[in-house]
């Protein structure tokens, strides 16, 4: 009996060792990600080509679904099985959580050599570093406080680009009066929350946003300002069509592209859909910051976290990959396709369209002013448990389960319960 146990254990060890060798032994990098739609994957291919130029192989491990949820589930299984990928696409607090598990490697050497500290905004570094060590290489910065508008529709109705909340509301009323949908929106928890990001920032300003969503100050969460923010959500609720519930964001964008609707409040990835419909951002489709949030940016950033490897070549490969990700050429190539902006602020904006140029300028300015803040809706303001607790309240309020007063109270309770 005992002999058998030893045997099994030995076999298990051998096979675990077997992988480790197969995985780390110079063959290349294994990359877990969820960039599988046409443009995204093509953009990622740039990175792959770059690495293969340095004769580093690329083992693709795409798992899409739920904005990375499925990939994170798969990752847990992989790590538990003792078979972690070399590099993993990750968002915000997930990176920190994995670092806290002690699962991530260290990129200090390449970061120091290339001077990442100086070019990556501090707000991003909060996620790419753990206890002062670089653990991940940021690929892009998406920002969520954007409004997209069909210029033809606005022109036809004689509406100027709104610059204040009241103007936005007036513009939406005018659109509605003309028989079109004012706000194209999909009723899914994360989309509701994306709007809420902008509304809270617009209602209370950057300080309030920070106190409520990043510091989770119960007073801010339950304050009058928050009640007012919920009131504005109710206002917006009046401008969506009857069938908004459950709609994909892509179809909401299509409504704006078709001229069926005038506005959409969505992160900058929406640009891809507009371009796909043959519209030029900045000309046919206007992009502007949610009125009242100019000067501030709520962001989420995709990064590649590097897992612990021991083998010498594997460490070199990881460093090479991180370096390739941070290279200005890749940052430009990738972000022009993805709709986001580079994660470093020293890249030329010549290749970008009008909205991209504005995004880059906004990012640099916000980073300077200290108003570059993580998006609550996209898990960059707080951990998953808290984020989802806020989702619950926001989506319940948007669907009419709570009035604004109750919603603010529930928000305090929900956040407290999730902490």
């Amino acid at each position: 009996m005992r002999k058998m146990k030893t045997l099994t254990a030995a076999a298990a060890l051998a096979s675990v060792g077997g992988w480790a060798a197969a995985q780390e032994g110079g063959s290349g990098v294994e990359v877990l990600h969820w960039w599988t739609s046409g443009g995204e994957a093509a953009a990622l291919n740039v990175l792959k080509e770059d690495l293969s130029g340095q004769s580093i192989g690329w083992n693709d491990m795409p798992v899409a679904g739920g904005g990375g949820e499925a990939a994170m589930t798969a990752l847990r299984a992989r790590v538990t099985a003792g078979n972690p990928p070399t590099a993993v696409q990750m968002l915000g607090f997930d990176i920190q959580d994995w670092a806290a598990e002690g699962a991530l490697g260290n990129l200090n050497e390449v970061a120091a050599a290339e001077g990442w500290d100086a070019v990556v905004p501090a707000a991003l570094q909060q996620f790419s570093k753990y206890e002062g060590n670089w653990i991940a290489a940021p690929v892009n910065v998406h920002s969520t406080n954007w409004v997209w508008a069909n210029k033809a529709v606005l022109d036809e109705l004689g509406i100027a680009q709104p610059t204040t909340w009241d103007e936005l509301v007036a513009a939406m009323e005018a659109v509605e009066a003309a028989g079109k949908v004012a706000l194209a929106h999909g009723g899914q928890a994360w989309q509701d929350a994306t709007i809420f990001d902008g509304v809270v920032l617009s209602t209370g300003g950057p300080e309030f946003y920070k106190a409520a969503f990043i510091d989770l100050d119960p007073e801010a969460l339950g304050s009058e300002t928050m009640v007012q923010a919920f009131d504005r959500m109710s206002q917006l609720r009046e401008f969506v069509d009857d069938n908004f519930s459950g709609r994909d964001w892509n179809l909401a964008s299509a409504m704006v592209a078709n001229g069926e609707a005038a506005f959409q409040i969505m992160g900058d990835w929406a640009k891809g859909e507009f371009k796909n419909a043959g519209l030029t951002p900045g000309e046919d489709i206007l992009c502007f910051r949610m009125p009242g949030t100019e000067g501030a940016v709520t962001f989420n950033s995709d990064q590649f976290a590097m897992f612990n490897v021991t083998d010498e070549t594997a460490v070199t490969n990881q460093a090479a990959m991180a370096s390739a990700i941070m290279s200005p050429e890749f940052q430009v190539a990738f972000n022009t396709v993805k709709g986001s902006v580079p994660a470093r602020t020293d890249v030329a904006d010549t290749e970008f369209d009008a909205c991209g140029k504005q995004g880059m300028a906004d990012l640099a300015a916000a980073a300077e002013a200290g108003t570059l803040m993580g998006s609550m809706a996209h898990g960059h303001a707080n951990r998953a448990a808290v984020k989802n607790a806020i989702y619950d309240v926001v989506t319940a309020h948007f669907n009419g389960e709570y009035d604004s007063q109750t919603a603010a109270e529930e928000l305090v309770n929900a956040v407290e319960a999730a902490m």
Binding site: A12, V16, T36, A64, R78, N250
Partner: protein, 307 residues
């Protein structure tokens, strides 16, 4: 099929149609009603499929233009070609093609092993009863209800220890284990209705355990084997959670590919390609339904009972 039933019908000359399926006879009015109900249900089942097919032969602009239920103005097969061979699944634009083989290599052994084990288990539990067999069956049945999310982490650990993580054999093991409860259930309940006297008689004649199984039980197992194969094939073919968690690039099944095609979160959605991909991904299962469906024939049992 069997001549027995034809003879039987003669008993009542009023009913002219010889029975192949069942000995029950029905009036003309009743038959019209039956056909009507069957056709209505066929329509109900086909409707969503029609939506998928229609949208898979449309350019994307027509779909996002809002005409989801209308027939295409421009017919195109480009989405099908794209889904099969050029759509972006990962960094390489491979389409679904390479994932097909992975799935087949996983599904066929997993279905075969779990069905055979299920048949043997069912045979033991009904014809070779022993003390406590009902409890054992109860345990196996209850196993059907285990939620997969609690399985994921410990299973990953076990596969890691066994050296099967990230491999097709590992996936086969997982699917066999979590399919056993069902296959056993099917065969046990089917064999329960099979006359035990026949087995006893064979034992008297000196036939052994496996000989009885092979000669007496298997020949009558057609209909239930079909059910078991359909069930297992469908579930394993369509499984995403285990495939995404326990497979490597070389063993990644079809559903993970389809999911990658369909489930981008911040990317452009090509609905027409998605629908084409979904139908393509379902073709092997459909084929199994049609082929296996033939073995739903009656008479196997009657023939055997008659000797």
């Amino acid at each position: 099929m069997s001549t027995i039933s034809q003879e039987a019908v003669v008993v009542r000359p009023a009913a002219p149609v010889p029975s192949q399926d069942t000995a029950v006879r029905t009036s003309r009015v009743a038959r019209t009603f039956i056909y009507l109900v069957l056709l209505l249900f066929a329509l109900f089942y086909l409707l969503p499929f029609a939506i998928m097919v229609i949208n898979s032969v449309k350019p994307l602009s027509e779909i996002t233009g809002g005409n989801m239920l209308a027939l295409p103005q421009d017919w195109t097969i480009a989405p099908w070609l794209s889904a099969w061979s050029t759509a972006q699944i990962g960094v390489e634009p491979t389409g679904l093609r390479p994932y097909f083989l992975n799935s087949i290599l996983m599904v066929v052994p997993a279905v075969a092993i779990s069905t055979i084990l299920g048949a043997l288990n069912g045979y033991v539990l009904t014809k070779w009863r022993f003390r406590g067999d009902t409890i054992l069956f109860g345990l196996m049945l209850f196993a059907c209800f285990i939620p997969f999310q609690i399985v994921l982490i410990p299973m990953a650990r076990m596969l890691g220890l066994m050296g099967l993580a990230g491999s097709t054999p590992g996936l086969i093991l997982v699917h066999v284990v979590y399919g056993l409860g069902f296959t056993t259930l099917y065969f046990r309940n089917y064999y329960a209705a099979f006359p035990t006297e026949l087995v006893r008689a064979a034992m008297m004649d000196g036939a052994g355990f496996f000989r009885i199984f092979w000669r007496i039980m298997l020949p009558v197992s057609g209909p239930i084997a079909v059910v078991s194969v359909i069930w297992q094939f469908t579930n394993i073919w369509n499984d995403f959670l285990f495939g995404a968690s326990f497979a490597d690039l070389d063993s990644m099944p079809m559903t993970v590919g389809l999911n990658n095609l369909v489930n981008s979160s911040t990317g452009v959605k090509e609905y027409n390609v998605h629908f084409a991909g979904a139908i393509l991904a379902a073709l092997p299962t459909l084929l199994v339904y049609i082929v296996a469906g033939r073995y739903f024939v009656r008479g196997l049992m009657a023939g055997s009972v008659k000797g």
